[in-house]
């Protein structure tokens, strides 16, 4: 890692070193280190206020860090201007030039080049048309941004950023302003596009599902610090902190203690936090094994791919359980019934201030 920052040959496209950024008294980023490998699609994931967008803007040069450095391909770019960094930036609300057509928007980055390096008119046209084909909007080249749907605007913004052949593509909440269905389609399309184009890409999101599904690597931020970096499978199945565990999916939280390798959970116990994902709780009509507790079904939501059951335990917070439709039909559960719940997979973290 160290040689990447000092200019040695390495596989790291962007190296972020000890970046700190404050806005007044608020610390947006606190001594952040991060490596973005070549050709990868990396997600910066975190709740709002975690510093993820600030980090993206610092990489782009739209924001200057108070301290620390940003290296592109081993070179220190901290003092370079936005234009010198040659990054493609896709803004959350697209920031398309409203007085230009789709074609003119995409051509902008080529047309503003100094005369010496500006491609001839015909070359610009060819390149824009190629990008229009890539985003499947060739027929709408003459439209203005206001005449496009949200998803179409997003794709134009992407094509515009790609037109300058950026060394990295940075996307700020790329699907944040879209409705659920378009969002879903577009993120698959983005993944496909990334595989085709191969440009190193970083996108910011607060949606863990989006990050886990699309990215090669996920960096989880919390309160201006990076909690964990890893492949989606890594961070989901081997979370480094209670925050990561909690943030990456729905959880049931129990307070408890660990004694001789056994977790004891109930309302009086303290010292440890015990997490169980809703799908790791097994509902049975009979007690099974040694680990189980009694509960009463309060609510069943069976519309959707998984059935969600809320149950009360009498000694703690309500418990959320998820199961397959098949299992649900097999058990024939009814509201008000008494059941036995067996946790299959626990995650235990020390009860710090930050947890929960």
């Amino acid at each position: 890692m160290a040689d990447c920052a000092t200019g040695g040959a390495c596989n790291v496209s962007i190296a972020i070193r000890q970046i700190t950024k404050k806005f007044g008294r608020f610390t947006a980023l606190d001594n952040v280190d991060l490596d973005i490998p070549h050709g990868r699609l990396v997600a910066l994931l975190g709740p709002s206020g975690s510093g993820k967008t600030t980090l993206l803007r610092i990489i782009a040069g739209l924001e200057l860090a108070d301290s620390g450095s940003v290296h592109f391909d081993g070179q220190d770019f901290s003092d370079r201007t936005v234009a010198q960094r040659r990054v493609g930036f896709v803004f959350q609300h697209y920031a398309l030039f409203r007085h230009m057509t789709v074609f003119e928007n995409i051509a902008f980055g080529l047309r503003v080049r100094p005369r010496a390096s500006r491609p001839p008119r015909s070359a610009i046209r060819a390149q824009v048309e190629e990008l229009l084909d890539l985003i499947q909007l060739r027929t709408l080249a003459g439209r203005y941004p206001s005449q496009l749907s949200g998803g179409q605007r997003q794709r134009v913004a992407l094509a515009r950023a790609l037109a300058v052949e950026p060394r990295v593509l940075l996307l700020d909440e790329p699907f944040g302003a879209l409705d659920a269905k378009v969002r879903y389609e577009l993120r698959r399309w983005l993944r496909q596009l990334h595989d085709d184009v191969g440009v190193t890409s970083v996108f910011v999101t607060h949606d863990q599902e989006e990050a886990l599904e699309v990215a090669d690597q996920v960096a989880i931020l919390n309160g201006g610090r990076i909690e964990q970096v890893g492949a989606p499978d890594d961070v989901y199945n081997r979370p480094a902190s209670s925050f990561v565990y909690n943030f990456l999916g729905n959880v049931n939280l129990f307070h408890g203690r660990i004694d001789n390798g056994t977790a004891y959970i109930n309302q009086e116990a303290t010292g440890q936090l015990v997490f169980v994902r809703p799908h790791s709780l097994e509902i049975g009509r009979q007690p099974s094994g040694a680990n189980y507790f009694r509960a009463t079904i309060k609510h069943i939501s069976s519309a959707g791919p998984v059935v969600k059951v809320d149950a009360s335990t009498g000694w703690g917070a309500p418990v959320h359980v998820e199961m397959s439709q098949a299992r649900f039909r097999e058990l024939e559960l009814r509201t008000g019934e008494e059941i036995f719940i067996t946790p299959n997979d626990l995650a235990v973290f020390a009860d710090e201030q930050r947890a929960g």
Binding site: A60, L62, T81, V82, A83, R86, V87, G88, F89, F91, H93, A95, L96, F97, R98, H99, F108, G109, V112, R113, Y144, S146, Q147, R160, A161, A163, V164
Partner: protein
Amino acid sequence: MVGTLHLRSAPAVGESRLIRGTLIAIAVVFLSVFLLAPLAVVFAVALGQGVAAFFSTFSNPDTLSAIWLTLVAAAVAVPANLIFGIAAAWAIGKFQFVGKGILIALIDLPFSVSPVVAGLTYVLLFGAQGLLGPWLVAHNVHIIFAVPGIILATVFVTVPFVARELLPTMAAQGSEEEEAALTLGAGGWQTFLRVTLPNVKWALLYGVILCNARAMGEFGAVAVVSGHVAGLTNTMPLQIEILYNDYQFVPAFAVASLLALLALATLVVKSVIEWRIARRGARVT
């Protein structure tokens, strides 16, 4: 539910026909008496003794000089205002800085201060008995009772126009498009010319039109600093007053009709711009 939307002429609030009629009548009568009638009188008197008399006004060298000075004052004030207005609106609309509220208040100052007071402050500053007067006299610089004074006063009263029109537009648009242009490799100047300016062009033109109308029509501030030197420091409004006080009604109203025509032209351009902005807005939503 599928159905048709009926657009009825009766408003939802349901005022009676009588109240509506009365309100409209009041507005029409008021505008006719206080605006249309005087305008008609201006043209009627100006042309009252025939077209020849009307045009002979404009062969008077003093009148021609007044028209020329008005054009000069506007030609300086409008570009000065344009540059200042864009800079101020940009700074206020797109940056956060200490003293922003004070800057906005200062821009509005010429609206709240009487033009006569504005003129007087220039006399107190640059006049022979004023603060800087002795120094100016010693260096043979003439501001008060000279053309520079006229221009200064005109610039002062027109300060708010362009900035005021641009501010809401620039603030609403934020700076994302400019940031996008920067990431695409555009320089600061290119970003301004290709992104910022086209986005505010109608608001800008609107501000310029209003600024121009005010620059040419200003009376109070200019009257104080002018000194009424015929053929030298009279603008059109001042010349009208002099001619009128001289009982030269046809020339006075002939020059006045010129200003009135300017006002009408301003109104037409303003309406066209408003129509364009409204159409643009409709397309955006």
